[in-house]
């Protein structure tokens, strides 16, 4: 399966298993979603379970919170993560805090799915990576898959989790893995690692990272599309890097990170999001605090620049394998 099919399969399983699961969002019903993620679900489960919603992200998320308080387990889709901001207040002030502020009386078992990330000539408002904004919010989990197998297993875990989850889907990976080499032909998921997706129910646990490549010289912390970029950069540089796909950025798998950095003594953090205040800053601080005596070089970050995501300069902005490779060499030299 490609990632779209895997996500579709996850939602199919969730709808089949639990009558309290329902899905709504802009264009997700009859049409099946602008990325086809909910294709066929309304036809299979009725418009009561899968339906189109007004163009109002604040309303979508608020309505989901109300449904969650009633006892349902809604999945809402924000068409692009760039358009999640009208719902920011509802996520930050309401979904994330409901359990806490009500002393556990009310909970918000909602999942907000949203395509995110660049590398598709999406310009300013179809390319953003806002995960850092949400990692600063207490009470919400943020999950980002990097392959179809994880996408399905993590989405099932997210929806079955009793806490609110922001589920960011790297749209650049929907149809195939992408390593940043935009000049090469696009590969489909067929025969790629992580494309073998079971048809039924299974979970990939939240809060657990995956070691994508074992290595001894350097630890690379990545998620989403950057996992694939890091893998290619590792092949191209010949540096024996250990690549950790965080999968959940909050709660974070700190044990996996610590263990790896203490082994390698070096750490490179890569993400598409802008640098200042990005999640990489948190990762860097944690590694510095917990692995200080094992570090043989300063921690490096290869990230998007601190500018809005441009259109023309897509490949000067996107942290591709050459920039990641240079970051790796810098850490090795440090």
């Amino acid at each position: 399966m490609n990632m779209v099919q895997a996500l579709n399969s996850a939602m199919d399983v969730l709808l089949k298993n639990d009558p309290n699961v329902l899905i709504f969002g802009e264009d997700v019903g009859f049409f099946g979603g602008v990325f086809r993620c909910t294709d066929g679900l309304q036809q299979r489960y009725s418009s009561q379970r899968v339906f189109d919603a007004p163009i109002a992200e604040g309303g979508l998320i608020a309505v989901a919170i109300g449904m969650g308080a009633y006892g349902l387990r809604p999945i809402v889709e924000c068409q692009f993560a760039d358009y999640i901001y009208p719902g920011f207040d509802q996520i930050v002030s309401e979904a994330a805090r409901l359990r806490y502020r009500s002393g556990g009386e009310f909970t918000s078992p909602i999942t907000v799915r949203s395509p995110y990330g660049g590398g598709i000539f999406g310009g300013q408002t179809h390319s953003q990576s806002p995960e850092g904004l949400f990692s600063h919010v207490c009470g919400i989990k943020t999950v980002i898959p990097s392959n179809p197998y994880d996408a399905k297993g993590l989405l099932i875990s997210a929806v079955e989790d009793d806490d609110p989850v922001l589920f960011l889907e790297p749209k650049r990976l929907y149809n195939g893995p992408f390593d940043g080499h935009h000049d090469r032909p696009v590969k489909p998921w067929t025969d790629q690692a992580g494309a073998d997706v079971p048809a039924g129910h299974y979970r990939v646990p939240l809060g657990k990272a995956a070691i994508i490549r074992e290595g001894g010289e350097l630890t690379i912390l990545a998620y989403g599309t950057m996992v694939h970029v890091a893998l290619t950069a590792t092949q191209e540089t010949g540096i024996d890097a250990e690549i950790i796909d965080l999968r959940t950025i909050l709660p974070l798998d700190i044990e996996a990170i610590e263990e790896s950095v203490k082994k390698t003594g070096r750490c490179l953090i890569v993400h598409e999001a802008t640098r200042t205040g990005g999640f990489g800053a948190e990762l860097s601080a944690l590694v510095q605090e917990r692995c200080f005596h094992h570090l043989e070089a300063p921690i490096e970050r290869v990230t998007g620049w601190d500018t809005p995501y441009p259109h023309t300069f897509e490949w000067q902005y996107f942290p591709g394998p050459r920039r990641v490779g240079e970051g790796m060499r810098k850490v090795m030299a440090g």
Binding site: G58, A62, G66, M67, D89, S93
Partner: protein, 424 residues
């Protein structure tokens, strides 16, 4: 050829400011009994007159008149009177407690008691209320223990919210009272979602949301109205127009050009404006909207026109922005006095019984206050253990919160050890 003119910006201004003598005759209020009562199947366009006019049942003499008279029995009327009076005494007591430094903050609903009490009585016990911070009368009318509310206000050891919330931001799931948020208007689309869930599950329960005139300017009010309309959600959206959003008059929220109830027409749902100080009218309109929602005819917007008699909160001084005695000129009078007069007129109440009830309720509030304070007050504890500060952020405490909890405990232990050393 049109005359050339420069543009000018219109800034709504409150009609009366400190030092002015208020005159509400501009309101052109309809008389009691004048409004028509359409069937609950009415469509938006059939409620135009109700959205721009006003439902009033009690006339100046205290008689119930017109098609909206809910014809409540005397016991229900006395129950309503009791709940309104109890709410007012509760407010007075808690206001005092704040002034005595026993808690940090309080908000009264003086003059608005008929809204929450009348609506609580018109809804069913299982219906979920999504209130603002000024519907404490819902809890009182639903017989929620006063000590529980007070414990929340004192953030004491019995506070079910474990001292996490500001005073008055109650949560009482068992009373069908949704957790109050400090962020305005957020609960309106949430109530719509709850109502949609109830319809999805083929339940019989409905939802009701409250919002003030000021916060109806928030986007979430629009979201709530759109979703309620699109999905025919079984929900009541109650807009309490008390004419003031802290220091801003309702004109600043858009109340100058049209009534708030009339917003509903554009969304394709009925809108009804009601005399918010007339318990019978509030009850009747709420009942109508609830029946409508419960029979799958969809949502209703109710504008409850009233006046915020008290300061916005214990941190506010209304004498700085409006006439100090403005409420005396407010033509709807006092909701408690009006219901009392009605009951007396029916021969179901008298001054003696009223005084006895007043005494009884004041004693009840005092006793509850003594009981609540036995479990602690904000300034003096006892409070919940600091450990609880880290609980309920997530269902299970993740490692980073466990570490922060341990860090705080270590720090507190060193602090205590330090104090002991100094004391030695």
């Amino acid at each position: 050829m049109t005359k050339k003119t420069t543009l000018s910006l219109h800034i709504p201004e409150a009609r009366f400011r400190p030092g002015d003598t208020p005159d509400f005759s501009y309101l052109n209020l309809p008389g009691a009994g004048e409004a028509q009562r359409p069937p609950v199947t009415a469509v938006a366009s059939e409620t135009r007159d109700l959205a721009f006019g006003m439902v009033r049942v009690l006339d100046d003499a205290g008689n119930a008149v017109g098609p909206w008279d809910p014809k409540l029995d005397a016991d229900t009327l006395r129950k309503a009177l009791r709940a309104m009076m109890l709410t007012r005494y509760f407010d007075d007591q808690m206001f005092k407690a704040q002034r005595q430094g026993k808690t940090s903050f309080y908000m009264k609903c003086t003059g608005e008691e008929a809204v929450a009490v009348g609506q609580a009585l018109a809804l069913e016990a299982g219906d979920m209320c999504f209130p603002t911070y000024r519907q404490q009368g819902l809890l009182v009318a639903r017989n929620w223990p006063l000590t529980d509310m007070m414990s929340q206000i004192y953030s004491n050891g019995q506070d079910r919210l474990k001292g996490r919330q500001l005073p008055v931001l109650y949560s009482a799931k068992d009373a069908g009272f949704f957790s109050i948020s400090g962020n305005l208007a957020t609960q309106v689309p949430q109530a719509v979602g709850w109502a949609m869930a109830s319809a999805y599950k083929r339940d019989r329960r409905i939802a009701a949301a409250w919002i003030g005139d000021g916060s109806s300017a928030e986007g979430d009010f629009h979201h709530g109205m759109v979703f309620a309309s699109v999905y025919h959600a079984p929900v009541l959206i109650n807009l309490v127009n008390n004419q003031w959003a802290i220091s801003s008059s309702q004109g600043v929220a858009g109340g100058e050009e049209a009534t708030f109830a009339s917003r509903a027409i554009g969304f394709g749902m009925p809108g009804i404006r009601v005399d918010g100080n007339d318990l019978l009218a509030v009850y009747a309109v709420t009942r109508w909207a609830a029946e409508r929602a419960r029979s799958n005819h969809g949502p209703t917007l109710i504008e409850l026109f009233t006046y915020r008699v008290a300061a916005h909160s214990t941190s506010d001084d209304p004498g700085r922005y409006r006439p100090g005695d403005e409420e005396k000129y407010w033509p709807f009078g006092d909701p408690v006095e009006r219901l009392k007069r009605h009951l007396v007129g029916l021969g179901e109440w008298n001054e003696e019984r009223h005084q006895a009830l007043a005494k009884e309720l004041q004693a009840e509030v005092k006793a509850a206050n003594v009981e609540a304070q036995r479990h602690g007050i904000l300034s003096d504890g006892p409070h919940h253990g600091t450990d609880t500060m880290f609980e309920d952020v997530f269902k299970e405490m993740p490692w980073h919160l466990q570490e922060q909890l341990a860090e705080l405990n270590r720090f507190e232990a060193t602090k205590e050890a330090g104090h002991k050393k100094e004391g030695e």
